[in-house]
């Protein structure tokens, strides 16, 4: 095929178009002006102007997680690139496919401390899956196509492409995606058959099995989630999900034990602790999930399925590690299970469910909604009830409200839950919701946030307004950095150092200033009506809900404690402190 010669910026846009990109989240500046000029001249690719580069990455994450596609970001050199770093790190931790195009000073100025020069590839090396600096025009098209391959295959992640201005302006040859093959990066997707057979033979001997599933199932796609559901129903094995995995298995299913981990359910954590065969599927034994490793699920044999070989045996040694894409492996597991006519010991499984039912009787997520003050959990529950018959996507910020949303909003489908799990980035919620709404213009998109988190990317209200994005932002306003306050109460003698939200703005006036609707609610009796009013408004809304300011998030496994030493709300009253020096040094 003859090479087509274009200017560098045209090559970039052509490559994006050929990769199926529909939208780019970005912010202009000197180094990327040639690209913006090219964007101006075309209408295949839509550009969404954010108000801060961190928000561009979170918006692209929301877009990517709610569609399964790659999210694309465009920022300028220097401060544009450094502002994107938090978002990139977030995407790396949560395995979100992102392409981030960064402007760079012209190649002959690199290294000279030129205006708005930053060593972008140096700065972003540890916070990307891979990064490139394009130094010659011949490499431009190839690099772009390779970057999409790297970002979206294997364990997905963010990829930065640093583009010096002279490369964008000069002539460059164009290659089609099909003309580019990657020399080194071709991850394995099929699991090893013998390992899968060993795993199924082990599962067939189990008396207390459990499936512990994470974000990898969602990244593998809707089909993988379906296979997971079928596999668990076929075998009768209980399922628990990580924070990142919510939606991979229907929350209403009777085999679902809820989320596990630090703020997971009693039944999920007890079952993890007491099980005899655990299958970890696309989950990485994060410290928020395992608690104290020395006491983590002591009596179980462990099988782990992951596309990333470095996730296997990282924190917890496993008996059988299967490297491959979750969807492919689940398919093979199902085939083997059926072919060998395996069955789990029905009597043992029945006993296991009886044990689980006893744990369930604790009703660990229950709360009482009094007449005078709104419980934050209640807001989540009511919102869930009121949106059941709508296509609804939820994003959150970070803190207690995030955990309450995870615990109380029942997710039935994958790709409907966006939260910052690995990095725990306050400021994620509103921009992520923007990205989701851009991808799904007709869906209901709700951002549950906190009074502190919402301030971290509040400037994005202008983006919501500009693009008429009807995102519903619900502030669970406890006038505290609630999660910080909770730890200070439990671990630091109730010394609430700097965790009170002083000088909060009037959120109704704030929304008004940005040109959309602000609502408040403080009487429990009004809650449903206000939520409904918000849902009915055709446009962005900020709803400021005054909630119980001293409510703590339970259950809780304090840092450094094993799963079976969970704190349940009713046992932990106002002044019950956690007595653990070890817990104090952990995060």
């Amino acid at each position: 095929m003859a090479e087509r010669i274009m200017n560098g910026s045209e090559v970039v846009l052509q490559a994006l178009a050929d990769q199926g990109v529909e939208v780019v989240f970005g912010y202009p500046g000197g180094a990327v002006l040639p690209l913006y000029d090219e964007i101006f001249k075309q209408n295949r690719i839509r550009h969404v102007l954010v108000r801060h580069e961190q928000a561009a990455v979170h918006a692209a994450e929301g877009y990517a997680r709610s569609t399964g596609k790659v999210g694309v970001v465009l920022v300028t050199s220097g401060p544009g690139a450094t502002n994107a770093v938090t978002g990139l790190t977030d995407a790396l931790m949560d395995s979100i496919p992102i392409i981030c195009l960064t402007g760079q000073v012209p190649t002959h100025l690199i290294g000279n401390d030129a205006f708005q020069e930053a060593d972008t590839t140096g700065i972003t090396r540890p916070c990307t899956k891979h990064n490139y600096l394009v130094k010659t025009p011949e490499k431009l098209a190839r690099t772009l196509h390779e970057a999409f391959h790297v970002a979206s295959s294997g364990r997905p992640g963010p990829v930065v492409i640093d583009l010096p201005k002279d490369i964008l302006v000069g002539k460059a040859p164009y290659l089609e995606p099909a003309q580019v093959q990657h020399r080194t990066y071709n991850p394995v997707v099929k699991g090893d058959r013998a390992d899968i057979e060993r795993a199924m033979a082990l599962l067939a001997t189990a008396k207390k099995p459990i499936l512990y599933c994470g974000g990898g199932v969602i990244n593998s796609g809707a089909q993988a989630c379906k296979l997971l559901t079928e596999f668990s129903r076929m075998t009768g094995v209980p399922v628990t999900l990580t924070l990142m995995g919510l939606g991979a298995y229907p929350a209403s299913d009777k085999q679902y034990l809820g989320m596990l981990g630090m703020h997971g359910t009693y039944e999920a954590n007890m079952a993890m602790h007491d099980c005899d065969v655990m299958i970890a599927i696309g989950a990485r034994f994060d410290d928020r999930v395992t608690g104290n490793l020395d006491f983590f699920s002591p009596g179980s044999q462990k099988i782990q399925i992951d596309i990333d070989p470095s996730s296997i045996n990282k924190n917890v040694p496993v008996d059988i590690g299967i490297i491959g894409d979750v969807g492919h492996v689940l398919e093979d597991m199902t085939k083997v299970w059926k072919a060998k006519q395996y069955k789990i010991n029905a009597k043992a499984l029945d006993g296991w469910w009886k044990e689980i039912d006893l744990w369930r009787e604790k009703r660990c997520l229950s709360y009482k909604q009094p007449k005078d003050v709104i419980k934050p959990q209640h807001v989540i529950r009511r919102m869930h009830a009121l949106t059941r018959d709508r296509k609804t996507y939820i994003t959150t910020d970070v803190g207690q409200h995030q955990m309450w949303a995870a615990q109380h909003f029942g997710f039935e489908h994958p790709h409907e839950w966006m939260t910052s799990g690995g990095l725990g980035t306050m400021g994620y919620g509103m921009p992520a919701a923007m990205g989701v709404q851009i991808a799904h213009p007709d869906a209901t998109v709700i951002c549950f946030t906190g009074d502190a988190s919402v301030m971290m990317n509040i400037q994005e209200c202008a983006t919501l307004k500009q693009y008429h994005l009807p995102v519903k932002t619900v502030i669970l306003n406890n006038r505290y950095m609630g999660m910080v306050r909770q730890w200070q109460q439990l671990l630091h003698g109730s010394r609430y150092s700097e965790s009170y939200s002083e000088s909060l703005p009037d959120f109704v006036k704030l929304a008004d200033a940005f040109g959309f609707t602000g609502l408040t609610c403080k009487d429990p009796a009004d809650l449903d009506a206000v939520l409904q009013q918000m849902l009915d408004i055709d446009g962005p809304v900020i709803l400021d809900v005054a909630v119980d300011d001293k409510e703590n998030c339970f259950p809780m496994i304090p840092s450094g404690k094993p799963h079976n030493e969970m704190l349940l709300g009713d046992e932990t009253n106002e002044d019950q402190a956690i007595d653990s020096d070890e817990g104090m040094v952990l995060v």
Binding site: R125, V150, R183, P309, K314
Partner: protein, 169 residues
């Protein structure tokens, strides 16, 4: 081997010879808190632009497994091979050792160099530069003996290693 026992491993990494690849490998070790006892790198295939990095590191079996998995998932990495596990291998290092001395010490340093099969590659009236090739242990021993004899500067290449026999990466 016991799960908590720390052992030394020589790992060879075949990489694309592109800018930043060494920084990726070093950054991975420092960022994740792994040890580097020695590291060498040079292009080994000019036609296909491949370089070979040899790292000597130490850790528990789980950590060593992590190091290899983490290296393997770097995008420009072709192959990772644990020479310590894959069978017998040859490991060699080269050192240049400067000894400044006169009289009896000078003569004694020459005698020891002879025993170690080190060559004097530079000489003045009161100094020698010895070139010695061998295992890390042999070079360590040589340096130790030179210490009282006027040892004044050392430059070492770090370990290069390759499997014995027909086994290749």
């Amino acid at each position: 081997m016991k799960e908590t026992e720390i052992s030394k491993h020589t790992i060879s990494v075949l990489v694309e010879n592109e800018s930043g690849v060494l920084a990726r490998v070093i950054g991975l070790f420092s960022g994740r808190g792994y040890n580097i006892e020695s590291l060498t790198v040079a292009e080994v295939d000019a036609v296909h632009h491949k370089s070979r990095i040899t790292v000597v590191t130490s850790g528990t079996p789980m950590v060593i497994e992590q190091i290899k998995a983490q290296l393997s998932r770097l995008v420009p990495v072709h192959k990772v091979s644990d020479l310590t596990l894959s069978g017998p291998c040859v490991e060699r290092e080269l050192a240049l050792v400067k000894v400044i001395a006169t009289g009896e010490k000078r003569v004694e340093s020459l005698r020891i160099a002879d025993i170690f099969k080190a060559r004097a590659v530079d000489a003045t009236n009161n100094s020698f530069v010895y070139e010695i090739i061998g295992s890390t242990e042999k070079i360590d021993a040589f340096i130790k003996l030179m210490e009282p004899l006027g040892l004044s500067e050392i430059s070492r290449t770090g370990v290069a290693a390759i499997s014995r026999g027909t086994l290749t990466m």
